[in-house]
Structures are given as structure tokens and as C-alpha cells.
């Protein structure tokens, strides 16, 4: 079992939605829903939900081998500036590593993080895919 079921279940909101912590004391927003502001420590925060769309501002193509990960390499790991203005780290999928570039529009979708193969649990969470121009 790669991950604890209670840990994963407890964090499901953060795995399935992009939450933003808006601090009512210092005014700064920050990625993921938290009990306190990561900038000033204030407990006076409001949690809002992101639309899940933004721009890929930086990325790396990773060949770093982590136990259980090898079949998914290479991975594209990037930083996305959401339309709400905050930065989020995440994996970019559904695009060939040779075609990914900074500045493309991306949106969050539900995808597989990892699984306890061959018969175990599958862990799902958010990744980002390019938004196709219509």
C-alpha cells in the first residue's frame, strides 16, 4: 500500500479540488485549503475554490526514478499561475514532453496519482492538461 487510506481520504478535498486560502489579516491568497495563513500565521482565513484554469509558467521534464513510479516516466512537473493569481505546482499530462512550452493554458482534471498494482487501491487527484483551442 503506497499511501495510508485515512490520510488520502482525509485530504480528498485537496486532491479533488483546488482550494485557495484567502487571509483576512494580511490579504494574501495561497494554494490549498488550510487552517492558517502560510504567510502570516493568522487563523482568520476564508477558503475559496479555484476554477482550476491558468497558465503554465515553468516546467521540467523529470526522469527521477521514485519507487513505483518508473512506468510513468518522464513526467512533466510544472508551476501553474491560476487565473485567481496564485501559483500551484502540479503534473502536466496529455501532452508530449517535446511539445510542452511555457505560456500554454492548462486546466485541472482528475487523474490517477498512483496505484497499489496489480489488485490494490487506485489513488486519484488533480493534474493539469492543455486547454485545446476550439
Amino acid at each position: 500500500m503506497k499511501h495510508s487510506i485515512p490520510i488520502f481520504w482525509r485530504n480528498r478535498e485537496s486532491h479533488y479540488r483546488i482550494k485557495i486560502t484567502k487571509c483576512n489579516a494580511c490579504g494574501k491568497p495561497a494554494y490549498f485549503g488550510r487552517d492558517r495563513c502560510p504567510y502570516c500565521g493568522s487563523r482568520n482565513v476564508t477558503i475559496i475554490e479555484s476554477e482550476g484554469k491558468g497558465i503554465l509558467v515553468n516546467f521540467t521534464i523529470s526522469y527521477y526514478r521514485r519507487e513505483g513510479d518508473e512506468e510513468h516516466l518522464p513526467r512533466i512537473i510544472g508551476l501553474i499561475r491560476l487565473d485567481e493569481g496564485i501559483m500551484v505546482p502540479g503534473e502536466i499530462v496529455d501532452i508530449d514532453p517535446s511539445e510542452v512550452k511555457e505560456g500554454i493554458r492548462v486546466e485541472a482534471v482528475l487523474r490517477r496519482y498512483s496505484s497499489d498494482d496489480p489488485y490494490g487501491l487506485i489513488y486519484y487527484g488533480l493534474k493539469f492538461i492543455p486547454i485545446l483551442k476550439k
Partner: protein, 373 residues
């Protein structure tokens, strides 16, 4: 109030490498036996720094298990873990214990076994220095962040891939003369550029090797100070927000905060003349450390790497190696030997030495200032 002083009175290291015949206790025994030969006495407190011992060797409370193995019954002991800065954190604690008067001889051992499993297992364990819930489970790893930082730095300052390669070229050149280093061979910029990609633009030769090691220093008060002693002037530390929350990824915020509270103690010393050890798990971090500490202007550090005579004399994490929890104590042990009798073919006559350690993309940083006594 007069604050009592703390000193480093002896240091020992094992060669870093893939020691399949040596377990964690054997490595501890090697540096401890060396320390007994040098000092002729036992400590009255033991601190063991190890980041991965629980994950790689399945051992909790490695400090007590160490005292049992050494036959040092009744000696108080404690394990310290702060990710990649565990070694300097252990030194930080040791000097407080000595200054408080609770003990006069504290042995600080840093130890890490990183080859008990294939690399993909140690890679996974090492990645847990990031936030497990929000970074690790999303398959984000420390070299990924280092790669993002390196790209941002190159873009912001117009620095090239080959400019950054100055770092590993210099570190490998230094390590050739370090008998304890894991990678004692020179590399070229071309070699760095063409090495296997870890997380582009970072290649294998921008990254630290995986190896086992142990290093130890004896921290003493004035009464137990040996004839070859170096004063621990101060150790400062700080933590910092996650990488994605920072306005400027090319500055190290925890290092900056730790440095702000330490710099006045260095008086008028020019840092480019001081013996320096900076944390370079990845080439870019060594470069950013020089800039954050003010050794170089922002965006300019690559060009001064060849001119800093006492920079990472043992080869840095890059080439000496980085047995995670032990690394800080390798930095200290090398610096101590450099100040006392010379190290890796270098003699240093300056008064001060500064050691920098950090974890991940500077999630915490520690600085140790040493002074010749």
C-alpha cells in the same frame, strides 16, 4: 550576561561510498573508534543526526541503539532530524547543551545508510523532505523543484547551462584531493551537459551522488577543550514557505533570514576571503547560496566560482557526497581540519569559517560560524 563558549575539539570522517559490507552501526563504530583514538575519553552526551535511519534501516531511536552497541551505558543520547540540515541541527543542539552547562563533552555523530535498497527507494524516501500531503503524493520531488529554480535563474539573469556547470566542475576538482569524497574524479562542462538528465535542465552531474557515510565532531566547553580547538561562535537557523508561495524563487529565504541574524558577528570580514561551505545538493543551490549570502551580486555567482579559494574544499555535496543526515557534520569536520592542519591539499590561515546547510528548496536553513581559537 557572560555566555559560556563552545568548541569543536576533534573531528572524524569515513569515506563516503556504497558500503554494502557496513551497516549503520559499523559506520557509527568507525567514527567513534577514530574519536576515541584522538581524544582518549568518552563523551558525556551523544547526539546522532540521521534523516533516513527509520526509513532506510528500519531503526527508531538510533541514538539509544548506538549507545547500546558502543557499550556506553548511562550516557544520555538523542536523535536529531531536520531533513538535509540534520547534521548542523545536531551541532546547534550540542553547542546549546555545552553552553548550558548540562554536559562538557558532547559527541555529535551524523550517519546515513542510503544503499540498503535500490536507488528508487532512497529517492522516494528522500522526497519526503517535501510536504507529503501536497507535494510528495503529487509526484513532485526535490530535483524537480531544483530544476524549476535553475530554469527561472537562467531566464532571469541570462545565465547559460554551461555557466551553471562551473559549479560541478569546481566541486569535482576539489574532491580529487579529499580522501573521504565519494566522487574523486574531475568533470568537464561538456561532461555535465551531456550526462543523463535527472530533471531537465539538471543532469546527473548537477546532482549529489547516493552514498553511505558517517562523520563526527566533539563539541566541548572550555574545561574539556583540546589543544586543537575551533570556537563555535554561533549557529542560526530559519524556515521558509513552500517554493510555490515565493515571489522570487531565485533567492533562498530561510538562508537569508539565518544570515540576517548572523552577519554582524562576522564583523568586517569579507566573505569571499572566508572559508565557506555551502549546500549544493544541486548545482543551482550552491550558486544561489553564494548570492543569498552576499558573496556575489545576484545573477553573477557563476563567474566567481573559480576565484573563491576556500569554497567547499572537500568537493561539496556534489562531489564529496551527501549522506543526508551526516552531511552537515562532513562540512564541519572538513572545515575543522582545514583550520587546524589543512585539508584536501589546502591550508587556511583566516580567522573565520562559515558553513551553510539547507533542506530541499530552502525549507529550512542553518548557518554555523566557526572561529580559529
Amino acid at each position: 550576561m557572560q555566555v559560556s563558549k563552545a568548541f569543536i575539539s576533534a573531528a572524524c570522517m569515513t569515506k563516503i561510498g556504497r558500503h554494502f559490507k557496513l551497516g549503520i552501526k559499523n559506520l557509527i563504530h568507525e567514527v567513534t573508534a577514530c574519536m576515541e583514538e584522538k581524544t582518549g575519553s568518552r563523551p558525556d552526551y551523544l547526539i546522532v543526526a540521521s534523516a533516513l535511519s527509520a526509513l532506510q534501516t528500519h531503526q527508531l531511536d538510533i541514538a539509544s541503539i548506538t549507545t547500546q552497541y558502543l557499550g556506553w551505558n548511562n550516557i544520555p543520547s538523542m536523535r536529531v532530524e531536520t531533513g538535509e540540515t540534520s547534521g548542523i541541527a545536531a551541532l546547534e543542539l550540542a553547542q546549546y547543551i555545552v553552553r548550558s552547562g548540562a554536559a562538557s563533552k558532547v559527541l555529535v555523530i551524523g550517519v546515513e545508510k542510503m544503499t540498503e535498497y535500490p536507488s528508487n527507494k532512497v529517492n522516494a524516501d528522500y522526497a519526503k523532505i517535501l510536504d507529503y500531503d501536497t507535494e510528495y503524493v503529487r509526484n513532485i520531488t526535490p530535483p524537480n523543484y531544483a530544476a524549476l529554480v535553475m530554469k527561472e535563474y537562467m531566464r532571469k539573469y541570462g545565465v547559460t547551462r554551461d555557466d551553471v556547470a562551473e559549479w560541478p566542475v569546481r566541486m569535482h576538482a576539489n574532491a580529487v584531493s579529499n580522501p573521504y569524497a565519494q566522487l574523486r574524479f574531475p568533470v568537464s562542462k561538456e561532461g555535465v551537459r551531456n550526462a543523463m538528465v535527472i530533471s531537465e535542465p539538471i543532469t546527473l552531474l548537477d546532482a549529489f551522488p547516493i552514498g553511505d557515510g558517517a562523520a563526527a565532531v566533539l563539541v566541548t566547553d572550555e574545561s574539556a577543550r583540546g589543544k586543537d580547538a575551533v570556537e563555535v561562535v554561533a549557529i542560526t537557523s530559519a524556515s521558509a514557505p513552500s517554493l510555490y508561495l515565493r515571489d522570487d524563487m531565485t533567492e533562498l529565504p530561510a538562508t537569508k533570514a539565518a544570515w540576517a541574524s548572523l552577519r554582524r558577528k562576522l564583523e568586517a570580514q569579507r566573505l569571499d576571503e572566508v572559508a565557506l561551505q555551502v549546500h549544493d545538493s544541486y548545482s543551482i543551490y550552491g550558486i544561489l547560496a553564494l548570492e543569498t549570502l552576499g558573496v556575489s551580486d545576484r545573477g553573477k555567482a557563476c563567474s566567481i566560482i573559480p576565484s573563491l579559494e576556500y569554497l567547499n574544499v572537500g568537493g561539496g555535496l556534489k562531489a564529496r557526497g551527501h549522506p543526508i543526515g551526516a552531511t552537515g557534520l562532513y562540512q564541519v569536520a572538513e572545515t575543522y581540519e582545514l583550520m587546524i592542519e589543512g585539508f584536501a591539499g589546502k591550508q587556511y590561515s583566516g580567522e573565520y569559517a562559515l558553513i551553510h546547510s539547507m533542506s530541499g528548496p530552502d525549507y529550512n536553513a542553518r548557518l554555523a560560524l566557526l572561529r580559529r581559537w
